[in-house]
């Protein structure tokens, strides 16, 4: 029954039952929530109390417990809503920092000093390294004498080139230089950098500087010891002071740098040169050599220490000059040639512009830098016109008119005829060469008489040309070889002579040589004739053996003594008649 009832209930009321169950669950849930809120409210009070008490009692422990949770929470929150947090926290933090700085400036400075100091130091160091790298790279890309020197120095001392360059470079920018009389404070000389603003009231400044210097020196001086103020610094500038003798130098610079060495060197030069003038200075600038003092002092404006650099610069310049000397000479000559060429072109242009037609025109510059013109023009007028249009030029006019040229050519023809006749007459080989302003004759002629004859004929033709003779005459020959009685054998003792003769013949192949045989008066004429011929032939054979051309030799046999011995009677003189005479072919007999 019970089961049936439940089944019936299920069939009839299932929907309602479900609704009632849902409603019951909702009510239960609502109740639970109310309880939770109440519970939270109650618990939160308790937790706050616990935390407060715990914070008082054991602050460290509580912090240690909560710290990981808080940190994680903060990190999570930062990730989730970074911008919102920024908006909230930024004004609070800014105000807090501002107030803190205002209230506790000193302690904040102390706290930040190590961090900031390190940061700045790191930054400066980094910037400096960058600068050194830059300088090094620039150094590597440049080449100069000083760079080579620096490079060697760098290798020797193991210092980078950049560091050496930094040492060499004078970063000090001098604004003003005062030379002041030590005792009176009166200004002796003042110099100012060219582009700097002129300092006003320099005399007052000098006096004031002297007062300050006196004050400091007096104030610091103890037990009458000499002491001296060296530098006054202010902001980015400083006044360097160097004292010597009766004056001192005050140099205003736009940077801090140790200038002591430089100042003392320059001041020493001034004092050593002008000691007495400076000591006697009483405010009258005319009493001192201002120009000289200013000259010395102005070297301080130089970027480099001239006292150190003078020698290397000088030697470098000398070296360069020595190296440049041949180049300079070559350059000078090339320039001269170029100028001459330009001038010659200009002359040709002038002639063309003035419609002066010159055949075979030759324009060139002489060693004396004169313009020499050669060629042929139609008329004498043209020749004169050349002189007019080129009056601005230092020129030599050798231009001929056609008429002149005709006569010139005629002279040349005449000369050629004389040469041909002479060569035939004297068996010579004279040649000529026409040079610009002279005729050169060369060749060989029989003797000086023949040469004189030729020269006189040529000089009759030319009266305006320089004639140069390179004509040689034949060497004297006229050699004799003697024979024994009734003998035609050439004795050995004449071999050396035959060597000399053959050499002369070989050197003058243009000429022929006569070998003429002679006998004494003994013996029959026919015998002597045969003997004479044999002697000639044997002599000829000796010469042929020595390489003489047979064509050069003319053989003649006579049955008599030579002309100079024709009347001799003595036996000794008779022996001289047994000979052959070797001589150049006689011109007269030709």
């Amino acid at each position: 029954m019970s089961a049936e009832y439940l089944k019936l209930k299920s069939l009839l009321l299932q929907e309602e039952i479900d609704k009632i169950d849902t409603l019951a669950r909702d009510i239960k849930s609502l109740e639970d929530r109310q309880e939770k809120d109440v519970l939270v409210e109650r618990l939160s009070q308790i937790i706050t109390d616990i935390l407060s008490k715990s914070l008082q009692a054991n602050h460290q422990k509580l912090y240690a417990t909560l710290q990981p949770l808080i940190s994680k929470g903060v990190v999570d929150e930062l990730h989730k809503s970074h911008d919102e947090l920024n908006k909230i926290l930024f004004p609070i933090i800014t105000t807090a920092i501002h107030e803190q700085v205002h209230k506790q400036k000193e302690s904040i400075v102390d706290a930040l000093y190590p961090i900031m100091g390190n940061m700045i130091s790191k930054y400066v160091s980094s910037a400096f390294t960058d600068m050194m790298h830059e300088i090094n790279s620039k150094l590597q890309s440049s080449l100069s004498f000083s760079r080579v020197t620096r490079k060697i120095k760098s290798k020797l001392y193991g210092i980078s080139e950049a560091q050496l360059l930094m040492q060499e470079t004078d970063f000090v920018d001098i604004e003003t230089i005062f030379l002041i009389h030590k005792e009176s404070g009166l200004l002796i000389v003042d110099l100012h950098k060219e582009d700097s603003n002129q300092m006003l009231e320099v005399e007052m400044v000098a006096s004031m500087l002297s007062a300050i210097r006196s004050f400091v020196n007096d104030w610091i001086s103890q037990d009458h010891e000499m002491s001296e103020i060296r530098e006054i610094e202010y902001s980015n500038s400083s006044i360097s002071i160097e004292s010597a003798g009766s004056c001192y130098l005050a140099v205003v610079t736009s940077s801090h740098a140790d200038m002591k060495d430089k100042l003392s060197k320059v001041l020493a030069r001034v004092v050593s040169k002008h000691s007495q003038e400076l000591t006697d200075f009483d405010g009258d600038t005319q009493s001192i050599d201002m120009y000289s003092i200013k000259n010395i002092l102005s070297t301080l404006f130089d970027k480099k220490d001239t006292t150190k650099e003078k020698f290397p610069i000088l030697s470098f310049l000398v070296l360069i000059m020595l190296l440049m000397l041949p180049l300079g000479w070559y350059g000078y000559n090339s320039y001269q040639d170029y100028q001459a060429e330009q001038k010659e072109k200009k002359v040709v242009e002038i002639l063309k512009a003035n419609k002066i037609q010159v055949f075979d025109l030759d324009v060139h510059t002489t060693k004396e830098n004169k313009i020499l013109l050669d060629g042929v023009v139609m008329f004498d007028d043209d020749r004169e016109k050349i002189d007019i249009v080129l009056r601005g030029y230092d020129q030599i006019n050798r231009v001929r008119s056609i008429d002149e040229n005709f006569y010139y050519n005629l002279k040349i023809t005449k000369m050629k005829k004389v040469i041909a006749e002479t060569n035939i007459k004297y068996n010579s080989n004279i040649e000529y060469k026409l040079s610009r302003n002279k005729i050169i004759f060369s060749g060989t002629i029989f003797d000086t008489k023949a040469k004189k004859d030729f020269v006189s004929q040529v000089e009759n033709i030319f009266d305006d040309k320089k004639l140069l003779y390179k004509i040689e005459t034949l060497p004297l020959l006229d050699k004799r070889i003697y024979f024994d009685l009734r003998s035609s054998d050439v004795l050995e003792k004449y071999y050396a002579l035959l060597d000399d003769i053959s050499l002369s013949l070989k050197n003058n192949k243009n000429y022929r040589v006569e070998i003429v045989g002679y006998t004494d008066l003994s013996g029959s004429k026919s015998y002597n004739k045969k003997l004479s011929r044999k002697r000639v032939v044997n002599t000829q054979n000796q010469l042929l053996l020595r390489g003489v051309d047979k064509e050069m030799l003319i053989l003649k046999a006579k049955a008599t003594p030579p002309k100079d011995l024709i009347n001799v009677k003595s036996e000794e003189e008779q022996s001289l008649a047994r000979c052959v005479i070797i001589n150049w072919e006689s011109i007269s007999e030709k």
Partner: protein, 168 residues
């Protein structure tokens, strides 16, 4: 035109009116604050006489508050002339004058010196006999009763001093 610089020193006790006298005369000067810092103030005046310009550099040397303490002698060095300033209302004129003259002499020798009896406007009837001092110090070239307030004799005194310098 010839131009010369000359250093002139003004010495005298504290508050005798040296600075006021100079202010009356010069054309340009450094701030008075230098007086209290290093004890001297530099002023400048240029005067042209007979085609020659003299540029006076006037050193106003602070008078010592302590009467025993003397002025910084190094400031006096190299001076071509001096003006010793006294206050006519002071009761110790003679002794202070001699003290300053001695200081001058010890450093610079007998340079031309002038005595200014200043603040004469406060006592127009001021009369003093310094014959002894004048006899002892032949380098004193003149005495003037001056007033920085009215300017009385100020210019005249400097002009005379410059003439003395030129003649020296």
């Amino acid at each position: 035109m010839r131009s010369r610089q000359k250093k002139v020193v003004l010495i005298g006790d504290f508050s005798v009116g040296k600075t006021s006298l100079i202010r009356r005369y010069v054309e340009n000067s450094f701030s008075d604050t230098y007086l209290s810092t290093i004890g001297v103030k530099i002023s400048k005046k240029s005067i042209t006489i007979d085609d020659e310009t003299i540029l006076l550099l006037i050193w106003d040397i602070e008078g010592a508050l302590d009467k025993i303490k003397r002025v910084n002698k190094t400031y006096i060095k190299g001076a071509s002339a001096a003006i010793i300033v006294t206050d006519v209302t002071s009761t110790e004129i003679e002794s202070t004058l001699q003290k300053h003259l001695d200081d001058l002499h010890s450093v610079n020798g007998a340079i031309p010196s002038m005595i200014a009896f200043n603040k004469i406007d406060k006592d127009e009837s001021f009369i003093i006999d310094i014959d002894d001092i004048l006899q002892k110090n032949s380098n004193i070239v003149g005495t003037f009763k001056t007033s920085a307030k009215s300017g009385k004799n100020v210019e005249k005194m400097f002009e005379l001093l410059v003439k003395e310098i030129i003649e020296c």
